[in-house]
Amino acid sequence: MHKLGKLGKPYGVLMQWGNADVSLLEALAVGAITGLVTALTTLLLATRFLIPNMKRLAVSWSRINLNDLLVTVHVAPWQTESRTHLKPINSLVPWRTLLDQVAFDPATLHPKAAPQIQEISLSTIIGSRARRPLALSLPALLIAPYHSMGSPIDAKLALAQISSVAGSAVVSGPGPYLPAQRAYAEHWILQWHLGQPGPSREMIQLADMAEVSLGQKSRKTTPAKNHKRLPLRVKRWSAHQRPIGLGASSLPQLLSQLRRGNPDIPVGVKILASQHLETDLAAVIQWAPDFITVTGSEAQRNSDLSDQFGIPTAIAIKRARDWIDQHAMSHISLIASGGIVSAADIVKLLALGANAVNIGPHLPWAVNQENEASLDIGQMALQGSRWFDATAKNMRVILQSLGLEDLGDLDRSVLYARTNQAAGLLGIPAAQPPSQGRLAVQLTALIDEYQRLISSLQRQVTLLQPQAVDSRHA
């Protein structure tokens, strides 16, 4: 119990706050200080982040939710300069995704000294058993936003150009086939939605990898067509109608069509991460895919119901990796998709078990360009390349801090959970004792701080009192 000082005595009104007894005056003083600090912080944020990005925010407002907005604000500076810091105001973002509840455990004295940053490799191989596996210098497969309002074609072409200079690959994505997209991209991934009429043999031959995305039929003819508020990825999934493996004959047909069309390249399947993920994996595995892409619930926030479907990307990857390893299928590459916006996100997902990630739809420059008529393909490509350049650098910085030289060395031991919830869900150690939640810890720290402040004020008041008496006598 906190011992009351002189200051609180005359008022005699006590308040219970956490495990501390506080007088009304103390509470008012604390309130005033808190208000001041909040006002100052807001002012600082406004000048540092909000005002410079006002235009960006304005165009983002109608399209993305509050979390995305905060992310936009703090990622925006990367577009113009390749800063190497990570998420400067991350602490103000209330856990954007489950991944934010995970942090890296840096190498200190143990396990080993950090390697030279230049020597760190970000390369990865997808579909190692294919005759022509996909070798990437950056484990990010670029994909354009699905619901572009501006020119989705420009976005696709810009992403293709970015993928070539970044050493990654571009996913053809939905919409019409674009010859220029293929021509720009060093590595082009043909994505085909189940339900679409099959791609031409020639198109398949142009691809470096092919992916069947379950299960888009024409949205006009799907049972989900009237559910306007359903997220796109769920509509696609429900369009598939029947559970995979139980009569969805067109999936194996499409896979074998792709294989016949181009027997050299990796062929895989993209699935929605559901609570029965393992059953889906078991079904997909029958058709011997070279890779599986798992889309988590953070993908495509295109409706207010988005977050209500499926499981988060991080959990999906953890579970999918566990399942794949348990079934001795580690030759099947695992690709994470959904809500990935930073170098830290990529490295965390790789540590959780992914071999590569889909990235693009959530990137602020990719989202915002839709509304910025003035941004042409060239400008978009340049902004995107800068972003990827900075992201690759940041990934190297993270690996260096973990004492690793290669992405292949990543595993879950480099991660720890900032919350017990994340620890439980992802099977990684928690940073704090089980009973205390994050909010409780912060509140306790705040109260401690105030208590220190109050006692120092009391000391000063005590010091001032005898001095006043002395001077009267002088």
Binding site: S82, Q118, S137, P179, R182
Partner: protein, 393 residues
């Protein structure tokens, strides 16, 4: 019945072919279809200014939107990737569209960058050969502060039958890039902090020019303190080292012209020489198919792989076809010669016309201001006219 000419490729060669065809044949007499994977054409010689000008400007200045041009010339454009040609059925196949039938076929499909020919090489190592690469290279150059900058030209994977032998395809832009970068560094007061190297698979600098041109170039390189490696056999490239036979060269940044090879899709047709190159006679007529012509970089010859050659060959090809059709006197065949306007920075260019490498005696060389002015004027009018210059070479 109207004749149908199909032109494959719409850059130096393809644009010159369409221009000549329309000059010689009215739309009532000849239907022309042009197929290319791009919607716009790029005047690539201008891309070397990625080394001394802002990238976005450079790319914009050299991009030629073609749709109104095609409309004006009454030409049907098709944007798709060509995957197959059946010369017996006289059909061109693209990735997604129905086959295109032709009466006469003009091929100007150039070469393919052989990034995969050197381990670790890819477009991300830097380059100026496409607009998006040049833009990116320019942006990277702007943040350059110090270190070793390498300009590297990969080999040409030609046919063993070529005589005289050439070991590199397109070195000109690389040398220009190095010179322009050097001058830019001087202006930025970064020259003393930068080591510049030029590495070429060529047996010497500008191997298909003349001894005088080579000497002049070597002298210029030495004056500018640029280290030159010739006859380079590239083995492997990593983020920090270029491994050439017997040597590891550490570097910080690079600009490459990729190894040059014949397009791989051509090897599935009956048209190539077995190595992806299209064999023609000196009238640019295919050696086996009289209604097929090929011009430019993709032909199976050790001739200069230059825009100028592609334009001259286009004139020869179209006039040859016209002469055959209308039973006229055949035009003069193509004789290879090199025309260079190599920018050396400070608004100077090295101008040379020579055919000595190909057994001739012409050897003109001049280094100064006016070749640079001519080059600039040529670029402006080329881009303005979409490659259909009032006076064609």
């Amino acid at each position: 019945m109207k004749t149908h000419a199909v032109v494959l490729g719409a850059r130096f060669g393809g644009l010159a072919i369409t221009s000549w065809l329309r000059r010689l044949y009215p739309a009532e007499e000849l239907d022309i279809t042009v197929v290319d994977r791009w919607q716009d054409a790029v005047y690539r010689p201008g891309l070397v200014h990625a080394m001394d000008q802002p990238g976005l400007n450079v790319a914009k200045k050299v991009t030629m939107p073609l749709s109104s041009h095609w409309k004006k010339l009454r030409i049907t454009p098709i944007q798709d990737i060509i995957v197959q040609i059946d010369p017996d059925q006289q059909k061109v196949y693209t990735a997604t569209l129905p086959p295109i039938s032709y009466d006469v076929l003009f091929m100007a499909t150039g070469t393919e960058p052989g990034w995969d020919r050197i381990a670790g090489l890819s477009p991300r190592r830097g380059g100026v050969c496409e607009a998006y690469q040049a833009r990116h290279t320019a942006w990277q150059r702007q943040s350059w502060s110090q270190g070793h900058f390498v300009f590297a030209a990969g080999p040409i994977i030609g046919s063993p039958q070529w005589e005289p032998k050439i070991s590199v395809g397109c070195e000109c832009p690389l040398l220009e890039s190095a010179f322009l970068f050097e001058r830019w560094l001087v202006k930025q007061q970064l020259r003393t902090k930068t080591q510049i190297s030029v590495m070429t698979a060529g047996s010497s600098l500008a191997e298909n020019s003349s001894p005088r041109v080579r000497q002049q170039l070597t002298r210029l390189m030495a004056q500018r303190n640029i280290t030159v490696y010739t006859n380079v056999q590239f083995e492997r490239v990593t983020d920090h080292d270029i491994f050439i036979k017997g040597e590891r060269v550490p570097y910080d940044r690079s600009v490459w012209t990729a190894p040059m090879k014949g397009p791989s899709w051509l090897t599935n047709t009956k048209l190539d020489d077995g190595y992806g190159w299209i064999p023609t006679n000196n009238y640019m007529n295919h050696v086996r198919y009289p209604n097929i012509y090929a011009v430019g970089d993709g032909t199976s010859h050790p001739w200069p792989k230059m825009g100028h050659s592609a334009m001259v060959q286009s004139r020869v090809a179209v006039h040859h076809w016209l002469a055959k059709q209308k039973h006229r006197k055949l035009p003069a065949p193509f004789h290879p010669y090199l025309v260079w306007m190599l920018e050396t920075g400070d608004s100077h260019s090295l101008f040379s016309i020579t055919n000595m490498f190909y057994g001739g005696t012409t050897d003109i060389l001049y280094h100064g201001l006016w070749p640079a002015w001519i080059k600039r004027a040529f670029q402006r009018s080329y881009v303005w006219s979409h490659g259909s210059l009032p006076i064609m070479p």
